[in-house]
């Protein structure tokens, strides 16, 4: 990329970020002046022009970028690509952040990376949608975070988002994860002070952290103040025993004294700039709700064509917040998309059974990132 081209790309990127941010703001209150599809297609054209990987994918699928008329025609970039290549329309020198997928340290070289030249759109996306589902009844909450602080793991998109939550919430925030170790004593102290002061809390963390937390309270359940809630995200990735989402929710409810309808699941991926939330706190169904700037489709795993509403497929996202990477993302997460636009998460598409000793190299071909982030 020449200097002139790079500068022109940055200007295009800036303009698109501005338009997406406007779209987000407007869609929270009224009808945006631009349609979702027209903005998605403009972003796709920008990415086609500036990222040879995406241009190759479009060409291989025989998608004529300048005659695309709907976002459903954009080929989904497989999440795998984020751990094999730099998926970005800008040079590394312009990275403001680079979010990375979590994973075992043994496979560091296989982590997915999502470079960001600005976090403003990501932040606006996260902070426009999360409060609707996590604190629709007010932000006067103490915040207990079962994740590492942002300054310790700046590569974690979850940590980044939770740090923004902390800036918004009125109560005290504390962080209780160091590396993969949960500091149970400090959580115990925070619980005690919240109970003593009668302050409701939001506890946020990954599934594996909640398993460890529940294990610590097995003989000693607490009852956190009324109005307390949980935001749970991500999978296990070998860092704790695996428990079904239903069972984990019951464990959390029993041991922390938080009603089941105050346990909200978040679905996010390092490769996405937007998140989905379960809707119980707004009196809705417990299915996942995407924001207006994120379009979800369930597609057939073999043809990648959309399946009928209500049928099971794998999730394909068109995320306007992904201005500088890939606007259309193909995951291996099984979902059922309902006619009201809500999403049921059904776990990961089972990988091919390893049929050979040479096929057991899961981390070399399997889509680790397909598991929601942790």
């Amino acid at each position: 990329m020449t200097v002139t081209t790079a500068e022109a790309s940055l200007r295009r990127s800036d303009a698109l970020h501005e338009r997406v941010q406007r779209f987000i703001r407007q869609s929270m209150n009224a009808q945006p002046e631009t349609t979702f599809d027209s903005l998605a297609i403009e972003i796709a054209r920008f990415q086609y022009d500036t990222n040879p990987l995406l241009a190759r994918l479009y060409n291989a699928r025989q998608v004529q970028i300048h005659s695309v008329s709907g976002s459903e025609q954009l080929p989904g970039v497989p999440t795998d690509l984020f751990r094999l290549k730099r998926v970005a329309s800008h040079l590394a020198q312009h990275d403001r952040r680079c979010f990375e997928t979590s994973g075992t340290t043994a496979h560091d070289s296989q982590r997915g990376r999502h470079p960001m030249r600005t976090t403003a759109t990501y932040e606006l996306s996260a902070m426009s949608w999360a409060p609707q589902w996590l604190w629709p009844d007010g932000d006067d909450l103490d915040f207990i975070v079962l994740a590492a602080p942002e300054d310790r793991e700046p590569q974690s998109s979850l940590g980044f988002m939770l740090a923004r939550f902390a800036e918004t919430l009125q109560g005290t925030t504390s962080w209780h994860l160091s590396g993969e170790k949960l500091d149970i004593q400090s959580v115990r102290a925070r619980f005690a002070s919240s109970i003593r002061e009668g302050r409701r809390v939001l506890i946020a963390g990954t599934s594996f952290a909640f398993v460890h937390l529940c294990d610590a309270w097995i003989d000693d359940p607490v009852s956190l103040p009324a109005g307390s809630r949980i935001m749970q995200t991500g999978g296990f990735k070998g860092r704790s025993r695996e428990i079904s989402p239903d069972r984990l929710a019951h464990m959390m409810s029993d041991r922390l004294g938080i009603p089941l309808d105050h346990i909200v699941g978040e679905y996010g991926m390092t490769e996405l700039g937007s998140q989905l939330y379960q809707g119980q706190l707004r009196g809705g169904v417990d299915r996942y709700h995407p924001p207006p700037w994120l379009r979800v489709k369930a597609v057939d795993p073999l043809s990648l064509a959309p399946v009928e509403s209500g049928q099971i497929g794998i999730a394909r996202f068109v995320d306007l917040a992904n201005v500088d990477s890939a606007v259309a993302i193909q995951t291996a997460d099984r979902i059922r998309l309902h006619s009201d636009g809500t999403v049921e998460l059904l776990g990961r598409l089972p990988g091919a059974s390893p049929r050979g000793c040479s096929l057991a190299l899961e981390h070399l071909f399997d889509d680790e990132n397909a598991e929601p982030r942790g």
Binding site: L53, R56, A60, P354, G356, S358, L359, A360, L361, D367
Partner: protein, 365 residues
């Protein structure tokens, strides 16, 4: 225990294997029938594997090496994996070279060749005079005995974590084959040989080629080699069709297709798939049978691409003399080396996977 006795036991096994190989022998007929109906291989794939790749008449020098490589044990337990229908033969041979008492737990998915070999040995009085072999459902070695494990790394680490102390353990885990094509070589014949290596056992073995590296190749050269390989695999696929893929395997391939369409290209036929990576940075293997990644680049690029995974390479095929492969080959000392077209025919001198062999043994080979 003498090496003569050990060799005698292996020779009895070789005689049993000859019956399996022979399509007119009742045991050979049974093997073919069961491998098609129980394991799901195609008749042509089974015939290719048994008829041409089941080693029944090894070079005597190799046989001596196999016996010499085996360390004597009072009993030898063997846990077999699926994947390569003939693999049980060599694994049992190595166990019989180690001990006169062998206990074998075949793969649940593919027990055929192991069972047929064991049954024949059990019915052979001459074998009974110098050894014993038993089919078992679970592995239960005692301290001082030997255990040969074949399978996925995860399975092996699960098993070894619960073993009592004092077991003499030989674990042969995850691995794959690497094909090298030098810059100055006549490439079409090499593509044909590579296609043959890939078709055997449907590319599922730990020696099967999964990655092809073209030294100092341009994008055009990489694409041309992939196209030639595609043509050869189309041709071989008609003669020897691949086993039917499960829905999961087809879905995995579909995902890989999208990835490789971005990385460089994708060529596939009814019985194979080729992913092209034009600017290799990180290794990404294809998930299903008869599939291979074709890529290329300079010395440092290839070394960095493969480096983190060099310990998984069991076999390097092709001309490894060009300097562009130098940095790459340094950490691959423990892999077997052979010509393209010979990846599935390693000398019958020990386990196919020699990554565990110590330096003295390697020098001997």
């Amino acid at each position: 225990m003498s090496q003569t006795e050990a060799k005698l036991r292996v020779q009895h096994l070789l005689a049993a294997a000859r019956a399996v190989r022979d399509e007119t022998h009742p045991v050979g007929m049974k093997a073919r029938q069961r491998l098609v109906y129980e394991v799901g291989l195609t008749p042509q794939g089974v015939e290719l594997a048994l008829g041409e790749y089941l080693e029944c008449d090894p070079d005597p020098v190799c046989l001596e090496r196999l016996v010499a490589r085996a360390k004597p044990a009072s009993a030898c337990h063997v846990l077999l994996s699926a994947n390569v229908c003939t693999a049980a033969h060599r694994a049992i041979a190595f166990a019989l070279a180690s001990s006169k008492h062998v206990l074998v737990r075949p793969s649940r998915r593919d027990p055929v060749v192991a069972e047929l070999l064991i049954q024949q040995l059990q019915a052979n009085d001459a074998f009974g005079a110098c050894g014993s072999i038993e089919r078992v459902d679970s592995i239960d070695p005692r301290p001082g005995e030997q255990l040969h494990l074949y399978g996925h790394d995860e399975t092996l680490s699960h098993i070894t974590s619960s073993l009592p102390a004092g077991i003499d353990l030989y674990a042969h885990g995850t691995g794959f084959g690497l094909a090298l094509v030098g810059p100055a070589q006549d490439r079409p014949p090499l593509a044909a040989s590579l296609a043959q290596d890939l078709v055997v056992f449907d590319g599922q073995g730990c020696l099967s080629p999964r990655v092809v590296l073209l030294g100092n190749a341009t994008a055009t050269e990489i694409e041309a080699f992939a196209a030639q390989l595609h043509e050869d695999l189309q041709r071989l696929g008609q003669a020897v069709p691949r086993a039917t893929l499960s829905d999961e395997e087809r879905a995995s391939l579909r995902r890989a297709q999208s990835t490789f369409e971005a990385l460089g290209g994708w060529l596939h036929g009814p019985h194979h798939a080729i992913g092209i990576d034009l600017e290799p940075e990180r290794l990404h293997l294809l998930p299903a049978l008869r599939s291979v990644v074709v890529t290329g680049g300079g010395a440092d690029q290839l070394a960095s691409y493969l480096g983190p995974h060099s310990h998984m390479i069991t076999c390097v095929a092709g001309d490894n003399s060009p300097p562009c492969f130098g940095p790459l080959l340094k950490p691959l000392g423990r892999a077997r080396h052979c010509a393209l077209g010979d990846m599935q025919k390693p000398p019958f001198d020990g386990p196919v996977d020699l990554r565990q062999a110590d330096d003295a043994e390697r020098a001997q080979c």
